[in-house]
């Protein structure tokens, strides 16, 4: 019992320390960015601090490469050691806030069977989307027909929100990226 108390105390202290530690300067969580998830919940991007994240940007009406981006996220997660799989979260933010409202994101998640305990699909206000693409180093541009030109990448953030690895390999596994995710999620 005493040991349990000590453990709880230790955990509380650790949590307190984490909250008090300033963000590293190169963390994307320095960007004040409000996301709205497919569940309709508001969340600051920085609220994801504490666990490694696989991040990408996409949009639901995209017929060409975006389904492959989501597939690649899933493939990458599934390629991890089962013990470390549960230590990372997946986040996909829409390029297209005008059409990707909460209901659209929700039905997309349902259609693609994206478990909300693992996947967060999110939207942000248009100016904020451009800023997110800026910190992630992604490019996008809306075309006259409403489609987007955009870069397709998976980005690995460490628990502090620093970009730890990225890949432009889409549609199949990138073994070196999987290795990077595995190493980070497994921890020291």
């Amino acid at each position: 019992m005493k040991r349990l108390c000590l453990l709880v105390l230790g955990l509380l202290l650790a949590a307190g320390l984490r909250a008090a530690t300033p963000l590293p300067g190169d963390s994307v969580y320095n960007l004040p960015l409000r996301l709205t998830t497919q569940e309709g919940q508001q969340q600051m991007l920085s609220a994801r601090r504490g666990r490694p994240q696989l991040v990408t940007m996409f949009y639901t009406s995209c017929q060409m490469v975006c389904p492959l981006i989501i597939d690649s996220m899933r493939l990458t997660r599934n390629a991890l050691d089962p013990a470390v799989r549960s230590r990372i979260d997946l986040l996909a933010v829409s390029f297209d806030p005008a059409r990707d409202d909460v209901a659209t994101l929700r039905s997309y998640a349902d259609r693609r069977r994206l478990d909300p305990r693992i996947w967060t699909l999110a939207r942000a206000e248009p100016a904020q989307v451009r800023r997110l693409s800026g910190v992630l180093g992604l490019q996008y541009r809306q075309l006259p027909d409403g489609e987007f030109n955009h870069s397709s990448e998976l980005i690995l953030l460490d628990a502090e929100g620093r970009i730890a690895a990225r890949t432009t390999v889409i549609g199949r596994l990138d073994p070196s990226f999987v290795k990077a995710v595995d190493a980070l999620a497994a921890g020291p």
Binding site: G25, R130, R131, G134, Q139, Y140
Partner: protein, 254 residues
């Protein structure tokens, strides 16, 4: 009565200091850009908008930094502004000899420029808005076909980048917008959307999944290389980058 009017006037002066930024109304319309809207040939549609008549100056940016200390050079997160950010100022809140109050502010990142414009209830102009405004000269809305106009702009590129920047308030174009060509490079909102392939032969490559959709854009009007150089410059930058000659002005939707 007169006294009350004078008081109201005085109050207005206090609320809207003389330094309040001026914006010019631009009508917009169909615009043939060097970047086709669909990556092939489509003209751009520019909605009516307002553009700051002058570039943001060192004095204006200093006032912003004082009210938004998270943008001081000693406070800003490196992911939002690189190590050169505002280094020509004497200190984090003093301009000094290398940064005169009426010179355009430079060594600012895209994130910092965005934040400044937001503080003015404005935004950065889009590339199309900027290019549309910059196509004008003192008398014509579209002077781009005039070889003398092009020569004039190219002349600016040959000015040594080590020379001290002139102050704002130089030549105005037909809209009343000053210094849009010939003083500094300018950030645009969608600087990371221009996506010009370094080699246009890449465009037909089916393995090139790096860009979704219509693929990388191809550039038109090869003779207009003064404008194309702007695009090359913007495309080479990241949002946290700062350079000696990159400044900005803000825009508002009408």
């Amino acid at each position: 009565m007169r006294a009350r009017l004078a008081l109201v006037w005085l109050g207005m002066l206090l609320v809207f200091p003389a330094a309040a930024a001026q914006y010019a109304a631009l009508p917009g319309g169909r615009f043939v850009s060097v970047l086709p809207a669909d990556g092939k040939a489509a003209a751009a549609q520019v909605a009516p908008f307002r553009l700051r008549t002058e570039l943001v100056t060192n004095a204006e940016f200093l006032a912003f930094v004082k009210t938004h200390p998270q943008w001081r050079r000693d406070k800003v997160a490196p992911i939002l502004a690189d190590a050169r950010y505002l280094t020509h100022w004497t200190s984090a809140d003093v301009l000094g000899e290398q940064a005169l109050p009426r010179q355009p502010v430079t060594r600012v990142s895209w994130f910092a420029a965005e934040a400044y414009c937001e503080s003015e209830q404005a935004r950065l102009p889009s590339w199309y808005e900027w290019e549309y405004a910059a196509a004008a000269d003192a008398t014509r809305r579209d002077a781009r076909a005039d070889p003398a106009w092009r020569e004039n702009i190219l002349g600016w590129y040959s000015r040594p980048s080590t020379a001290a920047l002139p102050q704002v308030g130089g030549i105005a174009n037909v809209y009343g917008v000053h210094d849009i060509n010939g003083l500094v490079w300018e950030w645009v909102d969608d600087f990371n959307a221009l996506m010009v392939a370094s080699d246009s032969r890449d465009q037909g490559d089916p393995d090139l999944l790096k860009f979704c959709g219509a693929g990388a854009l191809s550039m038109q009007q090869k003779e207009n290389y003064a404008v194309l150089m702007r695009i090359a410059m913007l495309s080479a930058l990241k949002a946290a980058d700062t350079t000696n000659n990159m400044g900005f002005r803000c825009a508002k939707s009408d």
